[in-house]
């Protein structure tokens, strides 16, 4: 089951990266970032799972799963959300100038 999680998250990570590289729409880029981030969250949470574990809230009814990845994931979710919000704000401002969110038309700077 954990191997399944890992396979899924690696596939989602690659889908996100491919979306960023191949798609020419800025919204797709941000969606790709969200996908990559979610995949990493799934990897981290799966790494803490142990078979037959219970949530890390006392009193435990059996072996508890690793709580440390959960703490990281919480932090990473909030950080990712603020990154995405910032990217969307930039896109709104840029769209005002170019009247487009297509990367092929946003070519003011090269290099």
């Amino acid at each position: 089951m954990i191997t399944l999680s890992y396979v899924t998250s690696v596939i989602i990570f690659c889908i996100g990266l491919y979306t960023i590289m191949a798609r020419r729409n800025l919204f797709k880029t941000v969606l790709g970032l969200a996908l990559m981030e979610s995949a990493i969250l799934l990897i981290i949470v799966s790494s803490g799972y142990i078979p037959g574990g219970v949530p890390p809230i006392e009193p435990f009814m059996g072996p508890a799963v690793n709580p440390l990845p959960h703490a990281f994931t919480l932090t990473a979710i909030v950080i990712g959300a603020s990154d995405i919000a910032l990217a969307l704000a930039f896109i709104i401002k840029l769209q005002r100038h170019y009247r487009s969110v297509d990367l092929d038309r946003i070519r003011g700077l090269r290099g």
Partner: protein
Amino acid sequence: MSLAFMVFLYLFLIATALVISAIGDILSAVITLSVFGILLATAFAILQAPDVALTQAVINSGIVTALFLVAFSQTERPPCYDKEEEKEE
């Protein structure tokens, strides 16, 4: 939780991710991202992480989707004249 359910859940996750990547319509992709977030929250809950599931459901499917929709509705309109923009440029 049974293995079959997990297989189904993960297949659904990959399918939604593919839809987000492939679909041309941005609005559909954003709504699919919300579905993806809820599925991921379910996966977290099954992996015995209630805190993370709660946060994921609230932030990624709630606030982030709302922000996406705001940004989308601000950019996908017929171009109309905006006085303040002229001042800025």
